[in-house]
């Protein structure tokens, strides 16, 4: 009995928000004051992230396949699909519109001081982007990012290679198609497959749940490493842009909380607390992929949304809609235009809105620096150069990326909340979900 109490106390303590606050504080302290300790701690964070990501693909495959299949069988698929087709485009337009408005008003790239320009130039020079070109000899055509390639990258030639290479978008497309196909087979034998899929999902989910106990440790290590990598010099010369970008993502976060609040009827504090885990994970890991399980459980368990719809819509929104990247590309494009003193009229602003949606969606198959090169899709129609500014965006990305991921996760949460209406059983489920939260 005594042992049990002690163990449960430890568990409660590990799950408490105060523990997370303490680990964040420790992470910040170590990252800024003792970068060497932070580097030695790096493997812990990597291990945690690895464990977390380990279960995401099985979850993605099983949850989407079974929820699409069940949706097809239950005949209310039409309604969900209609809602998705309305909510996703409107959400994307809203997000990119918001970013365009904020960047136009705040104008982070206008009237930069000579000293700022100089330090930015030093950064550009450091990267040694001196171009080397042969005037004769045959031209090696480099494959650039474009939309047709993106469309091609959506369909997996081989689902097993897509799975083993972790190509989320391809797995997603396959799962949807497979789910629709399963839903169309009206035979009792299919039910057993759904049960198998469900049990795989639950098993992986259990692993992820267990991992939340290690969250304080992982969080501390991940934060410390991120902060120790950060060059403060860059931060200061790009300060206005960084502030505007972070402000945009925080605003997006708050807007999404409001939307979810309106959709559910829970109190704001309950919502904050239910969404705490995906938020923290997004900020700590900068990996939207790693946040997918937490997002599903936050909505279906924490806020009592219909699990079937949530399981489908949340991964779909996170993988395809890329709200964070869309907002960021719109901000970045306006920043570049302001930097090069190119006046933009209303039609060009709307062009930015649309092309940043496309560029943002195109990032779904990419990771790392490649994500940022998609900015070219926005800048090329505006006839603005990318090479020099890309260096700057890459330099500040360690600061921006966590917030961009948070923006993506929360916009996806809000979009999912709009598609999947909560069942009218809130009152019944409420005590249960609260118990689960603690």
């Amino acid at each position: 009995m005594f042992k049990f109490i002690r163990r449960s106390t430890v568990l409660t303590w590990l799950r408490s928000p105060w523990c997370l606050v303490a680990s964040v504080a420790l992470g910040i302290y170590l990252g800024t004051q003792h970068p060497i300790v932070a580097t030695t701690m790096a493997p812990i964070g990597t291990l945690y992230l690895g464990l977390l990501k380990m279960c995401v693909l099985p979850i993605l495959l099983t949850s989407i396949t079974s929820s699409v299949g069940r949706l097809m069988m239950s005949h209310d698929a039409k309604q969900s699909i209609q809602r998705i087709l309305i909510v996703f485009p409107v959400g994307l337009l809203g997000v990119s519109g918001l970013a365009v408005i904020i960047a136009t008003i705040a104008a982070p790239g206008k009237n930069l001081s000579e000293a700022t320009l100089k330090s930015l130039g030093v950064l550009v020079n450091q990267s040694g982007i001196d171009l080397e070109i042969a005037l004769s000899s045959s031209v090696a055509s480099a494959k650039d990012a474009d939309m047709s390639q993106f469309l091609l990258s959506m369909v997996p030639e081989n689902i097993f290679s897509a799975l083993s290479e972790g190509q989320t978008l391809k797995v997603l497309i396959f799962s949807i198609i497979f789910g629709v196909a399963l839903g169309a087979v009206h035979e009792p034998v299919i039910e057993r497959l759904f049960e198998i899929l469900e049990s795989i999902y639950k098993g992986c989910h259990q692993v992820i749940n267990g991992l939340t106990l290690a969250l304080p440790v992982g969080l501390c290590s991940l934060l410390a490493v991120q902060l120790s990598d950060l060059g403060t010099e860059v931060l200061f010369s790009m300060l206005s842009f960084v502030i505007v970008a972070i402000f945009t993502f925080i605003l997006l976060y708050l807007l999404c909380i409001l939307i979810i609040w309106r959709q559910t009827g829970y109190s704001l504090i309950q919502i904050f607390s239910a969404l705490k885990e995906p938020t923290i994970l997004a900020l700590a890991t900068s990996s939207s992929f790693a946040c997918i399980p937490a997002t599903i459980s936050a909505l279906s368990e924490g806020l009592a949304f219909d699990r079937k719809t949530t399981q489908l819509v949340a991964p779909l929104a996170i993988t395809i809609c890329r709200f964070g990247a869309v907002a960021y590309f719109a901000l970045a494009a306006l920043f570049v235009a302001q930097l090069y003193q190119k006046p933009l009229d209303l039609s060009q602003l709307s062009l930015i809105m649309c092309s940043s949606i496309l560029a943002g969606m195109a990032t779904s198959g990419t990771t790392g620096v490649l994500t940022l090169t998609m900015l070219d899709l926005v800048l090329t129609p505006l006839k603005l150069p990318l090479e020099a500014v890309l260096v700057l965006f890459i330099a500040i990305d360690p600061i921006i990326n966590p917030f961009r991921t948070m923006g993506l996760i929360h916009s996806s949460l809000a979009a999912t909340a709009l598609v999947a209406e909560p069942r009218g059983r809130m009152v019944e489920i409420l005590p249960l979900s609260e118990a689960e939260l603690q």
Binding site: N125, I133, L135, S137, A142, D146, V389
Partner: protein, 315 residues
């Protein structure tokens, strides 16, 4: 045995006589033919004859000077006179923050003089690079180390050492302007079919280079490099064309322009910088070459800028 030898001897003599006659006749015929048909060959043959005579005469000389005249002249004078352009050109010859006269060329000259055991003196009367070459040709300096390009025009009058710096040609491009004509094409494609105005220094060899390498572009000549660069920054012209170092110096010395300007180096061009010497200083030329080789003086634009990171743009 004796009878056989008696028989063979006249036969051998006869054969030898025949051969000698044949050789004499053939030589006469050949010289006649050559003289008539190849009048150009005659002087060459004559000269090779005189050269052989000269060598023979020299080998007959009993008294030789202690060292070749071109080296001896410097040793006797006690100083090496080096021609240098009368302008600052970082990182080749410039006054640094500590107000010392330094740079790659200055250091090379000093090193060479030290090796020869003499002091160095700079002749800085020349206002243009061609005037530096003329100073050497007129023997007003022993040699010139003054960022001189090895061009064939110059090689008509002076001799060049092996290059101590090999750089490429460079283009300084306005990023915005080039993005205007890119339309999704790669940078290499755009640059190869460059259209628009390219600025060069008036009367420099880059006028010809531009016309040859960018036939679709319009050449705009500027009195100075600084004015050409200013025009690119303002976007009045698309690009300006010069050697890699001058191009890189702009973005390195004025980092605030790095966002506006892109530097491009052409991998299949070369601009070799070498020491210029009078044509009649063969020994000094060999000495300079060996000096450069022994001290591994073989820079590229990159290694030079690494050694002199605080460059300033030339006026």
């Amino acid at each position: 045995m004796i009878t056989i030898s008696k028989l063979i001897r006249p036969t051998v003599q006869l054969i030898i006589q025949l051969i000698v006659r044949l050789i004499v006749r053939v030589t006469l015929c050949l010289s006649l033919i050559l003289g008539c048909w190849f009048p150009n060959m005659a002087p060459v043959l004559a000269q090779s004859g005189t050269n052989l005579a000269q060598i023979a005469a020299a080998s007959n000389q009993t008294k030789r000077s202690a060292m070749p005249p071109d080296i001896q002249k410097i040793r006797q004078r006690g100083k090496l006179i080096v021609a240098l352009l009368n302008r600052e050109n970082s990182p080749f010859f410039m006054t640094d923050a500590a107000r010392d006269f330094t740079g790659l060329d200055v250091k090379l000259a000093a090193g060479l003089a030290e090796q020869l055991g003499v002091t160095v003196e700079f002749n800085r009367k020349a206002q243009t690079f061609d005037e530096v070459v003329k100073t050497v040709y007129d023997l007003k300096a022993d040699l010139a180390i003054s960022k001189l390009s090895r061009t064939l025009n110059r090689a008509e009058r002076v001799r060049f050492s092996q290059p101590y710096l090999k750089m490429r040609q460079g283009l300084l491009v306005n990023r915005l302007q080039i993005a205007q004509q890119a339309n999704g094409r790669s940078m290499t494609e755009v640059v190869r079919n460059l259209q628009g105005k390219i600025g060069v220094i008036r009367g420099s060899s880059y006028v010809g280079f531009t016309q040859k390498k960018f036939p679709n572009a319009t050449v705009v000549e500027f009195p100075t490099w600084a004015e050409a660069v200013e025009a690119v920054i303002r976007g009045n012209i698309l690009a300006t064309y010069r050697d890699e170092i001058e191009v890189k110096k702009i973005v390195l010395s004025q980092p605030n322009t790095a966002l506006t300007l892109q530097t491009i180096a052409f991998t299949d061009t070369q601009d070799s910088i070498a020491v210029a010497l009078p044509w009649d200083s063969p020994q000094l030329l060999a000495y300079v070459n060996q000096f450069l080789e022994t001290n591994f003086v073989d820079y590229s634009a990159e290694s030079l800028l690494q050694e002199y990171p605080t460059v300033t743009a030339a006026p």
